[in-house]
Symmetry: C2
Subunit: 237 residues, 2 copies
């Protein structure tokens, strides 16, 4: 027996293949850190555990490969991608540029309702900070930035951002755990909301870019040893 169809899908288009489900599962396992960088994804045991065959798993892994979450080695299988510091720096660099661009778009496009939604998230984050709930802050923080990108109305911009963000996920989590970091991050969000209401494109762009680079620097400060090892000439300008 293949897919035991206990419930028929109400919406035919919402049906998803086993491969897609596995894709999401693996994506979560990697993002949550349950699968650590360098770990091999054992097709057989993974398949056996779920009572399915290896075909859909390989399909899912191929997508993850293209998404950059997984690396493929011939005859060795799929491995959770490991990012070195250079990767992190490069991603943050692009990320800052994307935010800067998003800022310019939002200046002439964001609605009062959208700003209110961001403000709502900001309030929740402030509460999370006060309660010392770093995990909650982290989740809301991701939503905050995702919404900003979504509000640009440019799906490619938003998608590319999501992809980069996903790759950074594990690393960034470490940085925000530190209490001082969430406070600094949250206060920057307040400034961003301020300039968004005001509407000056250049200021908004600069603010978002700076927020991204500040986040990068907060992350770097949590790993001084690796930073020292990297003798790259990296500057903000």
């Amino acid at each position: 027996m293949t897919t035991t169809q206990l419930f028929s899908e109400p919406d035919a288009d919402s049906a998803e293949s086993v491969a897609t489900g596995i894709y999401r599962e693996l994506e979560n396992l990697i993002i949550e850190g349950k699968l650590e960088p360098g770990d091999r994804i054992n097709e057989k045991s993974f398949a056996d555990q779920r009572g399915i065959s290896r075909g859909p798993i390989r399909e899912a892994c191929r997508r993850l490969e293209e998404a950059g979450l997984v690396e493929f080695k011939v005859n060795r299988g799929f491995f959770v991608r490991v990012l070195d510091l250079r990767d992190v720096l490069e991603i943050y660099d692009v990320r800052a540029a994307l935010f800067s661009h998003a800022g310019r778009i939002l200046a002439r496009r964001i609605t009062a309702e959208q700003i209110d939604e961001l403000a709502g998230l900001h309030d929740e984050m402030e509460a999370a900070v006060a309660a010392g709930n770093a995990d909650l802050f982290y989740t809301l923080n991701r939503r905050f930035h995702s919404e900003i990108m979504a509000f640009t109305g440019n799906r490619y911009l938003a998608d590319i951002y999501e992809g980069l963000d996903r790759e950074l996920h594990i690393w960034r989590k470490r940085a925000l755990i530190l209490d001082g970091n969430v406070r600094a991050s949250s206060s920057e969000h307040g400034l961003i909301l301020e300039v968004l209401r005001n509407g000056n494109p250049t200021r908004i762009a600069q603010m978002l870019r700076d927020h991204s680079l500040a986040g990068r620097n907060r992350l770097l400060r949590t790993m001084p040893e690796q930073v020292a090892k990297l003798q790259m000439d990296w500057q903000d300008d």
Copy 2:
């Protein structure tokens, strides 16, 4: 018998699975336009033609799906992605932002040798223009922009650019066929080289951004009917 190993690979890491080969083949078919947007990829006939099974083909298609070149519908298969005008506009918008950012990086990073290489490509393009060889111009043109992105040294920036460029490929080819367009494009390249040698970050960024948006406008002019159909409030600012 499975993979008849007539020749042993000299370099073990350079070995690639059948799936990877199929991935490249399909990618090319789509980019070359041999497979047109909306076409379904028939797994069985594709597999039979090559004397292989459907497994590797599905794996390749999953990667193409993640890359955005192909769309997947449950129980219906993989279809070559169709881009509407909105997609094109959104891609160009991000593309321009990426070039602008690349310009700032290059201002402090590009070497004289790299500029010379770009100048060499520019000369070849000028020759192609003079010879009326639009196809050659188009190929060189892609290389020119790819190299610019590669010279930033940021692999993520370069990869994201390549991904967007690939999606645009079919559409853009139409726009450059027009003779006036290649001339305009080529002369803009000359200006870019000039400011690259000069080294002013803001000027370089602006030049590259403008070149990208000019390319977009050239493309739009080849499809006035579709532009008219789109009642979006899209502005450059």
